[in-house]
Amino acid sequence: MHIPDAVLDPRVAALTGVMGAAGLFYGLKSVEGRLKERTTSLMGMMSAFIFAAQMVNFPVGPGVSGHLLGGVLVAVMLGPWAGAVVIAAVLIVQCFLFGDGGLTALGANFVNMGLIGSVVGYAIYAPIRRWIGGHRGILIAAMIAAWFTVLLAAGACAAELSAAGSHRDFFRILSWMALVHAVIGLGEAIITGLVVRFILLTRPELIEQDPTWGLESPVPGSGPPRRWLATILGGLGVALAVVVFLSPLASELPDGLEFVGQRIGFLADESPSSPIPAPMPDYQLPLPSLEHVKAATAVAGLVGTLVVFAVSWGLARVFSGAGHRSERASADAA
């Protein structure tokens, strides 16, 4: 998902650069205010961890492998802004030392993977966690947040790439991005879930004592409105992710409108008939057509969401009463 140089429209690059810089400054201030002089060691070490973790490849199929992105994982362990700062550090090192992701696209990449990946991810995670409660809540919420943030990031990426073009380009790019990232998001959700489950089974106090590992000291009076904000942001995030999947289908609308327009006649001049007839008007590349991609994208979105729910429920069974006992029993037997 690293956008390289020269692909983005310069105006988009500038705009996302300003947004990214503002987000990063706010994140740094917020993290430093809570961690004080511990910022460097904790943020530096977590950045190094995410960097190293991204090198571990998971087998997906023959010759294909995926890896963790980690935005939601850090947010669950350390809080949303700490997650964003960690992702920023990883992106900067990747850009300067490895040429991975463009210098002028750094802002866009940070908006997609840091701000959406961690801050919006946390906003999806926190309400679900509170709603379900307990260790099950942590695990299920983390997986759902991981799944939706990858989709949202793909949607944002498509919007940035197609900002200079027309809305139909947006839908074309979005369809492909969302289809590919449905697979990536599934992997991200499952890896995040398994790592969180591992932490919950070995050192649960790191996550459970406080959603932000002591980073967010409860300030009296600031509790309820923040929760509302988180709930609203989370709901918005999920709604947007749904839109990411369904909008390729909805893009039929403009075509339909044009069709109606031509029927009525007010768009008659919009389709200039070329003087020379196209050599093969009905010729199409033997690639899957855009309509197929759109349908596949929507199906992938629905199936993926269901799979994430099912898998997260299955993994979280360990933390229900019966699951706990059976796990203990198997541990004793081993």
Partner: protein, 201 residues
């Protein structure tokens, strides 16, 4: 060139990349002269052309795919044609990418970080980046040791099992990173750490 003040190198790279990215599509003369400049820099820097080309080839496929995906929607397509647009994007990206690689070859990460700090990047971020680079290698080695230990037990599992083993490895690495951060932080406090890195300059 290696001894040049890293601030100038950083600013020059930034200016070069922005110039490349901002060059309008189809301006081959501008891109050509920027390319000549880059070739000159590669020559002076003594960077291995072979390794540069190899690194570039690794990325060429990705950028080609992206260019093909983005190009049809750009307004410039109408005036320049699809092929010119795609070629422009690929050439512009290659120039920027190679410039970043040249920067990475002629300056050490520490010098770059110091230059960033002097150019106004927040101290916390610079210190974090410095710390991070140090521990990337440590954690990478730790990861290699863990996977070697796993292989030494000659473990060959199915796909689901290997997912559980790999996430277990990541979880273990995460816990060890936390503990290492604690230990390192205590050691730093013992040596008078107050939140800022002091350099001898």
């Amino acid at each position: 060139m290696h001894r040049l003040d890293a601030r100038y190198k950083l600013l020059f790279t930034l200016a070069f990349v922005i110039a490349v990215v901002a060059t309008p599509i189809g301006q081959w003369r501008v891109l050509g002269s920027l390319g000549l400049l880059l070739a000159l820099l590669v020559g002076i820097s003594g960077a291995s052309v072979r390794s540069l080309v190899l690194r570039w080839a690794g990325f060429a496929l990705v950028i080609g795919f992206l260019a093909v995906m983005v190009a049809p929607g750009l307004p410039a397509r109408a005036s320049h044609g699809l092929v010119t647009v795609i070629l422009s994007i690929v050439v512009k990206n290659s120039l920027a990418f190679l410039m970043m690689l040249v920067l990475a070859t002629v300056s050490s990460w520490l010098d770059l970080l110091q230059a960033m700090r002097r150019l106004g990047v927040p101290r916390v971020l610079v210190a974090t980046l410095q710390f991070m680079e140090r521990y990337i290698h440590v954690l990478g080695e730790e990861l290699a040791r863990m996977s070697q230990a796993r292989r030494a037990r000659s473990f060959q599992g199915g796909s689901i099992l290997s997912w559980r083993l790999l996430t277990g490895m990541l979880g273990m690495l995460l816990l060890r990173s936390f503990e290492r951060a604690e230990r390192v932080h205590s050691a730093m406090l013992a040596r008078g750490w107050d939140g800022t890195i002091h350099n001898l300059d």
